[in-house]
């Protein structure tokens, strides 16, 4: 067990936004909420997965909705506690032993810290994605057959609901419509789980990993190339490209932010091009019209010089970025994982090939 203080939160926010692969919203608001919450209630305890009891009960908390709404209308502050307690009450659980993030992303890495601070609960060092994904069933607990419901949902006005759905994809559909009605932003509590289930199905150490990533990116006394090297070693990733955004095509469809961007190579990628397709999160990267990385592996865009993560909303013509590819958690690389969040689910007609194999093949071709 250890305590998360202000510095830890600053770092987690950066690291989780990196793992958010362009989605998960502007980390700034989330960070301010978490900082305000610990300022008021004191630092939050972080437990590693090995430190929790198998039969204890845990509930995650998250925000659902449009990142572009969140920057304008953010929560009142007590919804987290309300939605959390509503679900506990519905489940008939008197004691909730802690909370944890659903996804690593700019906002949702921070919400559980707010809940933990407000309720004096510990935060557990795990999440249900190891990255960010756009839909509620894209969770490792779902891959293991754990139900997302009963789930509680609320808004800042005080409307509150409990769903029990026939499967987790229905949870996504119904919760999304409710979210749109609630002003395109809601607070949810779902995937109630035991300690044993977390040990079995969660992505472990994600909070700590986010913090380490953030520490490297924020460090002031390292050259950018050294920082990058440390970062790639830590996450076992690859630098796929260095380039300048020359075009961003966006479309809003079915409640999602879809699009693609074209990058023109700079430095030693000078004669190359890259296309990155996104659906809130970055999902497919093609270098010179050949796929080099695809979902569920992570495609992270970072600022060329600061290595700070770049969200899909802030993409702009002329911005210089590095594209970094990371292998997804092994649970995503199973047949069910690929079926749930692989390229075909998002409408890209490719068979999933792990990023390290594609990189190895490209290196071989060059030699």
């Amino acid at each position: 067990m250890r305590y998360l203080d202000q510095a830890a939160i600053e770092h987690i926010a950066i690291g989780a936004a990196f793992l958010g692969t362009g989605g998960g919203g502007d980390p700034y608001i989330g960070k301010l909420m978490a900082l305000s919450a610990i300022e008021k209630n004191g630092p939050v305890k972080l437990y590693s997965v090995d430190e929790i009891a198998d039969d204890d009960f845990f509930i995650p908390a998250a925000m659902m909705g449009a990142p572009s709404v969140l920057v304008e209308k953010f929560p009142r502050g007590d919804e987290f506690v309300k939605v959390f307690q509503k679900l506990a009450q519905y489940l008939g659980k008197e004691k909730i032993a802690g909370t944890y993030p659903m996804e690593a992303g700019g906002v949702n890495s921070m919400i559980p810290i707010v809940v933990a601070a407000q309720l004096g609960l510990p935060l557990i060092d795990c999440d249900g994605m190891g990255r960010a994904f756009p839909e509620l069933q894209m969770v490792t607990f779902n891959l293991d057959g754990i139900s997302a419901t009963p789930m509680a949902i609320t808004d800042e006005k005080g409307n509150i609901g409990i769903f029990e759905t026939i499967d987790n994809k229905w949870t996504e559909r119904i919760a999304r419509s409710a979210t749109v009605e609630m002003g395109a932003s809601s607070l949810v509590s779902l995937y109630p789980t035991t300690g044993a289930q977390i040990k079995q199905s969660g992505v472990h150490h994600i909070v700590t990993l986010s913090e380490k990533i953030g520490e490297i990116i924020a460090s002031k006394n390292q050259e950018v190339n050294d920082k990058l090297q440390h970062l790639l070693e830590l996450v076992k990733g690859f630098e796929l490209f260095q380039g300048k955004i020359v075009d961003v095509i966006r479309e809003t469809k079915g409640g999602f932010n879809l699009g693609k961007m074209n990058l023109e190579g700079i430095a030693h990628y000078k004669n190359d091009q890259m296309k990155v397709h996104f659906q809130n999160e970055n999902l497919l990267a093609e270098k010179n019209d050949k796929v080099v990385a695809m979902t569920p592996d992570l495609i992270c865009l970072v600022d060329y010089e600061t290595l700070l993560p770049v969200t899909t909303e802030s993409l702009k013509y002329g911005k210089r970025v590095r594209v970094i590819g990371l292998p997804a958690h092994e649970k995503w690389r199973t047949a069910k994982g690929i079926e749930t969040a692989g390229p075909k689910y998002f409408g890209y007609d490719y068979d999933y090939v792990p990023i390290e194999e594609m990189v190895k093949k490209e290196v071989a071709e060059h030699v």
Binding site: I29, L35, S68, V71, E72, K73, G77, A184, G255, I266
Partner: protein
């Protein structure tokens, strides 16, 4: 008829006089005084003495000033602000002034309230205003605040609540009480817009003293019947009345004026501009004659804001930059001898090697005594020049939007240090009046209007939405003093909103027109 343009920079206050054809007829440069006002008076005096014209024929006077920027950075002369955020029950999880430097909060007295109000992303009511709540607040604040900032959730979609609250404040505190409405200042992003609005409200006293000081300085020189304008940071002008409402828009007008002046002098509408000063160089991009706008949150005095700012990058390289050799490695800047160049640089008999000395040694410039730098090894001087070239090349590349070479317009007092060729630059355009490009930019500026709103294209088709936004921007421009029949559309930005079921798009338009 004549126009006067004055630009107060960090180092120099430049003043120029243009004739009716906007031709430069006289210019002077004098050091910026500590109180700024004296410097303005002095340069105005010198300008009028030197130009020797009929003062009664001066019709316009424009001022580009750093006073608002300085007030924020130095935390001086700021007004006590009351912040009313309309958004309850939402938004209470992050209070106003979160993440502000504490000394700044103290200066502004830190009064705020989160009141009922605000809209949803689609324009539906989040909560209705409560008149009693606001009036009670105003009673409490009666002697506490000198200015009020009003910020409503999604006020960029509908701002009638902000305007209603403004009216209640005027009824309680009087018509002249300074009030800033966020919907007229920043874009989407409540915290950043609120911060910009608070800063705007805090500047009401500074802008009052500045404009009064300028008018008095003109009157002291016998200039009475002139239209007075202030420079905004998008390369356009605002009337005094408008400036009093939006003082924050004067921030960063200096680099903007240089870019606009460069466009005017070179007669080029789309290019990159390099403005070299004594300590730093600013690089900006001209798009259709106006500076490209920054699209990211910009920090002003350590406070994150999202109001309109020019997209400028600064490099620590200027005419006074110090040249050093350490471990056989040549470094240039970022420190500089600054305004002491005329004492400290070698060519002026000083003892510090500066970029200007290198330029003189290589015959690029003829200032000071060139014999004093004759001893510098030519190969070394060329190596320093290569270093300068590299610094500029990297900075210019950051501003490019494609890998193609760009043309560069070079202005500013320190521009003698720039080599004749830079990699990535197809040609360098210079002008003999480049040294006062900023003051020229200040005096040729036009008047603009902007409007931003979220439109739902499935309800209001794109064409209609565009027309509506343009009409509202035109109204803004006319309010600021533009001639109706000269106004034209210069910028349209469309950003679709995620998760919105009905194809909602954030639409931002800008128009520009000539002065009345």
């Amino acid at each position: 008829m004549y126009k006067i343009g004055i630009d107060v920079g960090g180092t120099n206050t430049d003043a120029i006089l243009l004739d009716h054809n906007s031709q430069l007829i006289y210019s002077v440069k004098s050091p910026t005084s500590l109180d700024i006002k004296t410097g303005i008076e002095k340069s105005l005096q010198q300008l009028l003495q030197g130009a020797n014209i009929d003062k009664t024929k001066i019709t316009h006077a424009m001022l580009g000033t750093t006073q608002c920027t300085n007030a924020i950075v130095e935390r001086k002369k700021l007004a006590k602000v009351g912040v009313i955020r309309l958004g309850y029950p939402a938004t209470a999880s992050v209070l106003p002034y979160t993440a502000w430097p504490t000394d700044m909060i103290d200066k502004l007295s830190g009064n705020y309230a989160i009141a009922h109000g605000g809209y949803e992303y689609d324009g539906q009511l989040l909560s209705a205003l409560d008149q009693e709540e606001i009036q009670k607040l105003l009673k409490e604040w009666q002697d506490e605040v000198e200015s009020i900032a009003i910020v409503g959730v999604f006020s960029s979609i509908k701002n009638d609540q902000e305007l209603q609250v403004r009216q209640w404040i005027q009824e309680a505190y009087g018509e002249d009480f300074p009030i800033s409405c966020s919907s007229l200042i920043g874009s989407v992003g409540l915290i950043e817009r609120e911060n910009a609005t608070i800063l705007n409200a805090a500047l009401c006293k500074v802008i009052e003293t500045t404009t009064q000081g300028f008018i008095q300085a003109l009157q002291a020189e016998g200039i009475f019947n002139v239209d007075v304008y202030l420079c905004q940071n998008d390369g356009t002008l605002m009337s005094i009345d408008y400036a009093k409402q939006f003082p924050i828009l004067t921030i960063a007008c200096g680099p903007t004026n240089s870019i606009r002046g460069a466009s005017y002098l070179s007669q080029i509408q789309n290019t990159m501009v390099l403005d070299v000063g004594g300590t730093t160089s600013d690089i900006g991009v001209l798009q259709d004659g106006f500076p490209r706008e920054s699209s990211v949150a910009v920090e002003v005095g350590d406070i994150r804001t999202n109001f309109r700012m020019p997209d400028i990058i600064s490099v620590g390289l200027g005419g006074g930059s110090i040249v050093r050799v350490e471990d056989d490695k040549i470094t240039v800047g970022p420190d500089s001898v600054g305004y002491k160049i005329s004492e400290e640089a070698l060519v002026f008999g000083g003892s510090t090697l500066t970029t200007t000395d290198i330029a003189v040694r290589l015959g690029l410039a003829n200032v000071g005594d060139r014999n004093l730098v004759a001893h510098i090894d030519e190969a070394f001087a060329k190596a320093v020049q290569e270093e300068i070239s590299l610094l500029l090349e990297q900075a210019i590349d950051k501003m490019k939007t494609s890998s193609e070479d760009v043309s560069l317009v070079l202005v500013g007092g320190g521009s003698i240090i720039v080599p004749d060729s830079i990699r990535g630059v197809s040609k360098i355009v210079k002008n003999e009046n480049g040294g006062v490009a900023n003051a020229i930019g200040a005096s040729i500026a036009q008047i603009s209007g902007q409007y931003e709103q979220i439109y739902i294209y499935s309800k209001e088709p794109r064409e209609e939405s565009l027309r509506d936004a343009e009409n509202k921007a035109v109204k803004q421009a006319m309010l600021a003093g533009a001639l109706a029949d000269t106004i034209e559309l210069v910028e349209v930005e469309e950003t679709p909103l995620a998760y919105h079921p009905e194809n909602a798009t954030r639409l931002k338009v800008k128009v520009v027109g000539k002065m009345v």
